[in-house]
């Protein structure tokens, strides 16, 4: 009986905490959204400034510190022109923008603040005990914030515009934004036919290079059965002609988008002469 009472009491206490946790404001924090890819020529200056403003409270996480609670200068409400001029004129300022003037100097100063915040620390905002020599701000181009050059430029554009300066940063240069795919694309084209075959994982389905895959037809001596043009079509438009005994919609149909012209040429040349394993190439 005691046991039952004790258990019920404990469960009741637990319920109080559970209910309390459920009635508080519920916020789910998601990983930062991948930025919409910026294609060259599609973004104008207005768009860039707007992008910068989104980044300020989004991926840049600037509002975490730059607000009215005193941890960092409240950039959104203060007089930026006054502040920037004051900082650049400060004799303690020894950074890259020293001696420069105008909107370009502001761009240099802001960029420096992003990647080397301790170059100049606004008085009163330094890390405790360092006498304003070390800034608590991280390098935003590195993890965990990892802003790309385009993103940093957008933020500079936003701040320049806010301070009443001309925007001096270039518009985004295009290409995919800071996503994981970046690394693969910046690898460049495959250098040899074998590398290209590996890159596009042909051996996953066709018996090439020692793989015994039989999802797709054997390609031994394919050069005798099909011309180079036909092989090319088989790669770029696999469902046009399907080999006997195999089904349509099995081979990927997007090689025409993925492959570079050079890579396609190398693969076709290789296959035209492909005798199968064991035969000399």
């Amino acid at each position: 009986m005691t046991l039952l009472r004790v258990m019920l009491f404990s469960v009741a206490v637990l319920l109080v905490y559970t209910i309390f946790a459920n009635i508080l404001p519920q916020v789910q924090s998601n990983p930062p959204e991948e930025e919409e890819p910026v294609v060259a020529g599609e973004m104008d200056q207005e768009g860039q400034i707007a992008w910068g403003e989104r980044l300020f409270s989004g991926k840049g996480t600037c509002t975490l510190c730059h607000n009215d609670l005193g941890r960092a200068p409240d950039l959104l409400v203060m007089n930026l022109e006054e502040a920037f001029s004051k900082h650049l004129a400060d004799e303690k300022y020894q950074g890259e923008a020293k001696g420069q003037e105008g909107a370009k100097a502001i761009e240099v100063y802001l960029h420096e603040s992003f990647v080397d915040p301790s170059a100049y620390v606004v008085p009163g905002f330094g890390k405790k005990g360092t006498n304003d020599a070390v800034s608590p701000m991280p390098d935003v181009s590195g993890p965990p914030i990892s802003l790309s050059d385009d993103q940093m430029n957008a933020l500079i554009a936003f701040l320049q515009d806010k301070g009443g300066y001309d925007v001096t940063v270039p518009l985004p240069t295009g290409g995919a934004a800071d996503t994981e795919e970046d690394e693969e694309e910046s690898e460049g084209p495959a250098e040899t036919a074998e590398a290209a075959i590996e890159k596009f994982t042909c051996a996953a389905c066709h018996a090439l290079g020692g793989s015994e895959a039989d999802v797709g037809p054997k390609l031994d001596g394919i050069g005798k059965r099909m011309s180079a043009t036909e092989i090319e079509q088989a790669i770029l438009d696999p469902n046009a002609v399907v080999a006997e005994g195999f089904e349509a919609d099995t081979m990927p149909t997007d090689y025409s988008e993925q492959m570079r012209v050079l890579e396609l040429k190398m693969i076709v040349d290789y296959l035209v002469n492909y005798e199968g394993e064991g035969a000399s190439q």
Binding site: K128, G129, T130, N131
Partner: protein
């Protein structure tokens, strides 16, 4: 309370007051936060 007790209490208040004041001073300075003798930031 006896007179001696009141005296002891008063003396103790003074003693602890000085102790805590010096402690405050020392702690703020050792954190690299310069303070005046009023303990307000310099």
């Amino acid at each position: 309370m006896k007179a001696s007790q009141t005296l002891a209490f008063a003396a103790a208040l003074v003693f602890w007051g000085i102790f805590f004041y010096l402690m405050n001073l020392f702690i703020m300075e050792s954190q690299g936060l310069p303070v005046a003798w009023t303990l307000m930031p310099k």
